[in-house]
Assembly symmetry: C2
Homo-oligomer: 355 residues x 2
Amino acid sequence: MGEKFILSSAERSPIFYPERQSLFRNEKAFFGSRTFSIFTKINFMNKKDLQEVYNNVKPHIHKTPVLHSRLIDDLAECKVYLKCENFQKAGAYKIRGATNAILKLSEKERSRGVVTHSSGNFAQAVSLAAKNLGVPAYIVMPTNAPKIKKSGTISYDGIITECEPTIAARERESSRIQQETGASFLHPSNDIDVIYGQGTACFELLSQETDFDYIICPVGGGGLIAGTCLFANEFSPKTKIIGAEPFEVDDAYRSLKSGKIETNATANTIADGLRTNLGSNNFPIISEHVSHIIRVSEDEIIDAMKLVWERMKIIIEPSSAVAVAAVLRETTFFKGKKVGIIISGGNVDLENLPF
Amino acid sequence: MGEKFILSSAERSPIFYPERQSLFRNEKAFFGSRTFSIFTKINFMNKKDLQEVYNNVKPHIHKTPVLHSRLIDDLAECKVYLKCENFQKAGAYKIRGATNAILKLSEKERSRGVVTHSSGNFAQAVSLAAKNLGVPAYIVMPTNAPKIKKSGTISYDGIITECEPTIAARERESSRIQQETGASFLHPSNDIDVIYGQGTACFELLSQETDFDYIICPVGGGGLIAGTCLFANEFSPKTKIIGAEPFEVDDAYRSLKSGKIETNATANTIADGLRTNLGSNNFPIISEHVSHIIRVSEDEIIDAMKLVWERMKIIIEPSSAVAVAAVLRETTFFKGKKVGIIISGGNVDLENLPF
C-alpha cells in the first residue's frame, strides 16, 4: 500500500481543470476563488491493493450489468453507458462498501458486530453485508424512517434501535450501542474502507467497457464518487470524474468552490439519497480528482428518471436520475464523448412517484 | 419443411394432460367436454427450418437477457427465469414476428409495403421492422389510440391512417389501403410467419437456459404462445407450455375447454395486451401443445407487477405480470420445478399506474 499526500488546491495550477471553463462558461472565476488548504494524509492503494479489495468483495455482491440505449445516446449526443447498481443486492451500490468495511475488521471485532445509523439504504446494505459474513448488525433508525426500509432491514436480520429523528439522537444512540456491545461504527460515506468498497462499482465498469472520457457519479455524502476517483485514477487515469447533484442541495458544488465542506440550508429535492454533506475523508479525494460538478433542476431529474424507465425499462432511483440528467443537460460539453454513469440504485417508493 | 396434421382433440387420450387434474383439482371434467374437431393443415417446420427463422430475424432484434431473482424463487418455491422481452426493440417481443413476416415477402411484395391495424404495440413493431428492412409500413390506428403509441409509430416512420375506433372501421380501412397500394396485410397474432417470428424469443431462452419443466406465456391473441409451442416442441420437447390470462378475459381458458374460439363479453383488465381473442391459425397449435391455462385476478396482476418492479428493478407491463402472477398463484403445482416466463414487454403508461 503506497502512501501519498493530497495537495491543497492552492498548490495546483488552474490549467489542471481546463474543461471547467467550457462547461461553466458563465463562471470564469469558478475555481479561481478556491482557497482551501486541506492537507490530508490517507493511505492510498496501488493497482494490486485495489484489485484485492475487489477480489475480497466480489463473492458477496452481484457483478451488475452495463447497459446502453441508442435513444439515450441520440438525446445526449454522446455514448452513454449505465453501470446498473440498481440491480445490486439490496437495490444499491452500498453493499459494496459495507462488505469491504466488515471484511477489514479483525475476527474479534467482527464477533462484536457493527453499528450504523441510517434512515434507509445503508441500513439495509449493512444488515445484508453483515448477515452474509455472519456478523451482528445494530442499526439505529429514526422513528420516521419509511416502513419499507425498516422491514427490509429486519428481513436482513438487522437489529433495529429506534431513536428521535435528529442527527444528535442518532449519534447518541449509536455511541451507546458501540460502548455497550463493542461494535465497530461504520460511516456510510466517510469510512475509508467503505469508500474503497464503493469504488469497486467503477472497477467493474472499467472491466466491462474501456476508454471512457468521463464517468459521472451522483454526489450525496461523497463516498461513491470518492471511491470511483480512487479506482479510476489507477485503472483509467485519462478518464475524468464528474459529479452530479441537484441545484437544491448543491453542497458539493459549493464545497469545491470554497475549498471547505459546505452544508445545505434546505433539502427540497426528490433525490433523497443526495441530501447529505461531504465528509473529512472523502472531500480531499473529491477535491483532488473531480473535474467538476454539474447541477440539475428537479424537473430535469424527474424527466431523466421517466426517460430511463420508459425507454430502457429499468427502475432507477431519483438520485441516479440526477447523473443521467447531467449528461442530458450538458450536451455541448459531452458531444461525441464516451461517458459512463454510475446508476447508484433502484430503491423507489412506487406509491409516491413524481409522475 | 415437414408437413403434419393437427389432430382434433377427440382423437387424443385424456391421459395426454395428466397434470391438469392436479392443477385444476376442483374441475375434474375440465377437458372432458372438449368437442371441437379442428383439423387444420399447417406446414410445420423442423429444427433446421426453425433455426433458419431465428438466423434471419437475429440481425434485426436484440438478444434479450434472461433474469432471475432469489426473492422471486423463494416466493414461488421454484426456479423462475424471466426472458426479458421488455428490453426488446420497441419494448416488446412483437418486432420478432413483424420482422420474420416481412422477411418472408418477395422483393416485389416488400416494395409495395405492409399494412396492419393496431392501437398499440404491433403498430410500433411493424413500423420499426419495416423501417429496418426499407419497407413502407401503413398503419391503421383508431382515433382513440394513446398519443404515445402514435408518436412511437411516427418515430419509426410508420404511415398512419386514422379511423373510427371499431374493428369494422379498422378492417375496412386496411382493406382499402391494401387495394390501393398492393401492401401485404400482417395480422398481429394469426399470421403464421408472425407466429414463427414470435417463437424466436423461446428459441433464445432455450439457448440461454436449459431443462425447463415449464414455460409460461401470457395469452392474448395467441401468437406468442403458439410460436413458443412450435419452438419448444422441437428444441425442448419435455418442457410443457402453460398459458396465463386474467379471469376477466379468460377466452383462451374457455376456448381450450369448449374446443372452439371463445370471445370475451367484457375487457375489464389492466392487462391491455390480453384483451384479444385467439385466431384460426394459432388456436390449433395452442390446443395441441398447451397443457393448461392459469387464470389470475386483477389484484394478483398488480401485486406481481409491483413485486417485479420493486425487487428486480425492471419495468414489465401488466400483460407480462399476468404470467408472473400465475407462477406465484400455483406454488403447489410448480414446487421445485424450473420455470421460464416470457416477459412480453415493458410498455407502460407511467402516468396511469395502478399503484
